[in-house]
Amino acid sequence: MSKLPKPAELAKVSYQLPKTGWMDTPVEFKPGMFCHGSKPKSLELVGFPNPREWRPADADWKLPENWKEIIIEGIADRLKKYRSFRLFMDICVRCGACADKCHFFIGTGDPRNMPVLRAELIRSVYRKEFTTAGKILGKMAGGRELTLDVLKEWWYYFYQCTECRRCSVFCPYGIDQAEITIIGRELLNLLGLNIEWIAGPVSNCYMKGNHLGLEPHTIVGNLEYMLDDIETVTGKRIKPTFNRKGAEILFVTPSGDLFADPGTYTAMGYLMLFEELGLDYTWSTYASEGGNFGFFTSNEMGKRLNSKIYAEAKRLGVKWILGGECGHMWRVLSQYMDTWNGPADFLEVPKSPITGTVFENAKSMKMVHVAEFTADLIKNNKLKLDPSRNDHLKVTWHDSCNVARGMGMLEEPRYVLKSVVNNFVEMPEDTIREKTFCCGSGTGLNASENMELRMKGGFPRANAVKYVHEHHGVNMLGNVCAIDRASLKALMEYWVPGVGVCGLHELVANAMIMTGEKERTTDLRGEPLPSVAAKEEKA
């Protein structure tokens, strides 16, 4: 029998990390902190290098012999191509302003999750290989050799960053850590070092048009279920169209909303809203994914996956594109799509057929976010709303990183929210708007095997929700992001039980009085409406 430690021995366990500096301390792979490695078939399908069976915790990563050369060349290419990358490699003065701003650092207490140090993982190699001082002085000039341990450290920590950019808000130089992580992941992908939670959706999306690999009949089938539920709640049977040529608007949303709660309630919200407006729109079973996990892989892969959206808009002959509620989708579409796959000169500048509002902000890319679209409808009194139907909810608002911090969409969702609910409570100032805390699961890290990482990364967000839950009775966390809807549910269950998660358009649809609807007794989730619940209580 093995020797059992005595209580006194246990209490003396040393928790100190090794006394060697970070550069010389190899990373230890801890369960719950990383995702499964990419499968060969996922890489093969899109022509990515080095497809093979491998496990991140194994010593042998089955790398090509010249792996180091590939990475160094990869860095050189990117230094030439991206001035931002070159700048970010040189300008950090290590002031530390970013250090405690990262949700992963806060939750893990691991210094390598300080944004400055995460960037330093690459910078140290950059200095050694690309600067004169580093070539001559090595470690004295902050340079270090690229070794297998360094590569493993990159993989571990670049898949512990959600590219949320909170740190960049506080950086006096505006260094965008997201771009450094993006490049870090690109370099790792040159050796086939992706995670399956990203690589799988990428190959699915490439073949079938969406991350989940839903085929056309499955998409239609899933929506049919929602239509049944809508009929139960409202008495109205909605008949959306798919792949309809000549529709005025193409609607593109993250596929996550098509198959898992609570995203499905948001999708039901879209269906009901568009029906009520009599919108001339169509769903596409090909451009069936607004999100883009290619963006978490490489710039080229992001571009390849994105190309279907304009292509489908052209094929169907629509005038403009409306986008569903999603976070990174919106950043990709707004900041990348036009340069990747534009110009979309075959489309028209989006104009709401209901209010006549021209969306000048979308003049070039020709796509409007549904929160902007609905805010405009409400501003022009085009919807009949009864916010009291949401009176059983006390809602707080999670600003999704890419939409809020990335795109500045702060007011539109709040305007819509305040119009459809009577009880809205903001979370504390340091945790919302530009300073919003990430859900901890973005950029393809919303797998289940890294649950501990997600719970730690999401802790600062959950802590703020807990505050409004305990002090103001908040019981619902609203957002406009599919990854949030998928991942915050678990986060709330762990940290703040009693708080649900919903999309904006679920609340819109609950409050919206539809023409010819039956008297509603439940919300979209089948929960009794407050008025009905009150009556039942009396009886």
Binding site: V13, D100, G107, P111, Y225, K456, F459, P460, N463, E493
Partner: protein
Amino acid sequence: MDLKEILRQKREDIVDRWFEAILSSYHEDARGPMRRTQAQFTNPVGFNFREGLEGLFDAVLQGMLPDTVTGFLDAIVRLRAVQDFSPSQSLSFIFELKKILRAAAGAELSGDPETADELVRLDGVIDDLALFAFDLHMECREKIYALKAQEARDMTFRLLQKAQLIAEHQE
């Protein structure tokens, strides 16, 4: 003056030491930010640890009630249950209090048999606290595994429904 009164007067100092003891389980570069204990929302770890330890200290002196102690314990144990600690490492901070209380009582009451009895009694309370913490730690770990299973179920629910493999409960 009785021991509890002396410890109460040294509350700030005792909680400081206890807080430092728990911080010593983190990397030294992480401790600085954690010490900003007023920043409830931007430094939730330091804030929750400090508030939790204060509450636990008071509870130990007052004789604990499970209802009052759970919230304070939760503020610390829930986070440490998902951090990179073994269960013994995660909860060993509780036993640190025994040493800290002895050190605090030390000079003034050394050799006093009543104090010694009282310290042994407090040791028992701290042991009870450790047992509560162990339950909570296990609950947190079980929740993590339940969440993993739940996510797998959520992802496949519609597919199972579509394949008519889910029976609806009929009222």
